[in-house]
Amino acid sequence: MTTTETRPPSAAQPEAKRNSPLSAVLRARELPVALALVILVTVTAIANPLFLSPQGVKDLLLNATIIVILAVGQAIVIITRNVDLSVGSILGLVAFMTGSLFANVEGIPIPVVFLAGLALGAVLGAINGLLVTLAKVPALVITLGTLYIYRGVNNAWAGGTQYFAGDRPDAFGALSVDTFLGFPVITLLALVVVVVVGVFLAGARSGRDLYAIGSDPEAARVFGLPVGRRVFLAFVTNGLLAGLAGVLYASRFNSVGATTGSGMELDVVAAAVVGGVAIFGGSGSVFGAAIGAILLTTITSALTALRVDKFWQQAIVGVLILAAIIIDRIASVRTARKLRISEARDV
């Protein structure tokens, strides 16, 4: 802020304002969603104190955990101007494999199951990534295809078999019950995922490449960024995270089978979008996506806790998604107008 000797003072002023950390926070796309979340929780807690009881908080966090992880993965992919609709199917396959491993391999160590789940997820993500990057085909079409295929494989493999919580070791189930400093263990895991991925995207060169690619893929190619490799890795990471979510699903819920996780894809995309990740790539953050995911899961719990007629709940979720997109839009239009007027002064 002191490097402006050669510049006209009028140009320096708005800039100095724009750079202060406080205003950076205030301009963040994540802010409206975060605010909505705080208001929602506060209002609900006033109406129904049980909502913030230790058990209530634990439930809220646990509900959000799996979708947060999926939304983080999805955000990575969306930022590169792609999308992965197959996450629900990947989660289902991995969850079923988890159940099947515990049921069929006597005394298999839990870390091995985690690794296997991550590996399967990564492989399925890699298939998406390969098809998208090698064949240069739109991701929406490819992953709509693999959504069907992975689900089909899951059905063929599982048939009517389901594995239940009772088939798995207690220590595995305990992961989604036990808490550490008041936080459920798997929630902490999700938190680590969010922070690591978030820092990577914001601060690593290859992370920034993803934004550049999403912003203009053709320009990225012309500039010489390794577009194919980065997009491929985005899909693999997303698959990996969907795999993690699959294993955690098996830890938290009772049964895993042929239909586990189906229909989840649009919720995940919705979470990312609500959290301010632009659907056409190039902007947004995983923190936003995570907050979006928490907001969407919390709204359901909140409406139940407020005893809102259950028939209204889904409609309200829809309105909320729309509101989030509209607010985001208003914010960005306002910035654009400010930019136009301030720049006209600068000339």
Binding site: G160, F253, S255
Partner: protein
């Protein structure tokens, strides 16, 4: 118009008779047990071939196209568990025009569209036994809730109706208040979250009835992983294999179910009797159901399979389904 071109001649024809089961949804554990019994019954009753077809999702209309294909394939007996009593009706009518016999089981269709309905148990009995169990477990007073399957599941809705009547009319239950009915759509995740929601919305809740195998298991899973374990009672209809850990860890004390395999078994024999022309589905008709002995068609064309069993820690290990 335009029924199956070679579907006719089913009734009376010896030997080459075919039967097809169309469950609510494939790849569901409860359904698998029912179908296991059905296939066994079909073989015992002497069908030349038995098939299972059906949708992967339990939506209202998805069964129609399967019925159509079976109509065209000239199947002699279609055994169906309807996702929607009316949505399958016109397709079943068409199948009947083509000569097929229709047996409903598990979940009834509109009575006009089938020849006979094989019911688990007397609907009222199922309802009463669940109310009885919950009353016992919560000590006869307090708030309770119901967590059901889909909002328009025929069988569950009928049971719930009887439960509500019983709670309202029986003085023994005067202190019990039914505060909510929620629906988990027979989806594990959804049921789990509905259970969770109940706990928060109704802090004084004493017990939950879940008259569906998916719902009771998901609820049990939630209770067993929360502070409500042992404080909130849970009963309903469940599969012993699924419920075993929760009975053992004390989340659930008692729940009920009939033997699902018998349902399919009886349905197959009813289908055979219809196809052979031994019965027409009239009230009072009787037929032999293999090793389960003679069955009679009751009011409304309904055949009752048997009384429900109550499972608890003492007897649960005797069952494997």
């Amino acid at each position: 118009a335009g029924g199956g071109d070679d579907g006719g001649g089913g009734s009376g024809a010896e030997g080459e008779q075919t039967i097809t089961f169309i469950p609510k949804q494939l790849n569901n554990p409860y359904t698998d047990v029912v179908l296991g019994g059905g296939e066994e019954g079909a073989e015992a009753a002497g069908f030349a071939s038995s098939q299972v077809v059906g949708p992967l999702d339990a939506s209202a209309s998805s069964q129609v196209s399967f019925i159509n294909a079976e109509t065209q394939a000239g199947t002699n007996v279609i055994v169906i568990a309807a996702n929607d009593p009316d949505a399958v009706c016109s397709a079943l009518e068409e199948a009947r025009t083509g000569g097929a016999k229709i047996v409903a089981f598990d979940s009834d269709t509109n009575p006009d569209c089938r020849d006979v309905f094989i019911s688990q148990v007397v609907a009222k009995d199922v309802a009463l036994i669940q109310v009885e169990l919950i009353a016992e477990q919560i000590g006869g007073s307090g708030e309770i809730a119901i967590l059901s399957a889909t909002a328009n599941a025929t069988n569950q809705n009928e049971w719930i109706k009887y439960m509500e009547e019983e709670l309202a009319s029986n003085p023994e239950y005067a202190d019990i208040e039914l505060v909510a009915k929620v629906y988990g759509d027979d989806d594990d995740t959804k049921s789990f979250q509905e259970a969770q929601g109940l706990m928060q919305a109704y802090p004084n809740l004493k017990g939950i009835i879940s008259p569906t195998t998916v719902g009771i298991a998901a609820t049990a899973r939630y209770l067993s992983t929360s502070e409500y374990k042992g404080k909130v009672a849970l009963t309903g209809l469940g599969l012993p294999n699924e419920m075993r850990p929760f009975v053992k860890d004390g989340t659930v004390t008692e729940f009920a179910l009939w033997d699902p395999a018998q349902l399919g078994y009886v349905a197959a024999f009813a289908g055979k009797a219809l196809a052979d022309g031994d019965i027409t589905g009239e009230v009072g008709d009787t037929f032999e159901a293999g090793e389960l002995g003679e069955r009679e068609i009751g009011d409304g064309g309904i055949v009752i399979v048997g009384p429900p069993t109550v499972f608890n820690a003492d007897n649960i290990d005797d069952y494997d389904f």
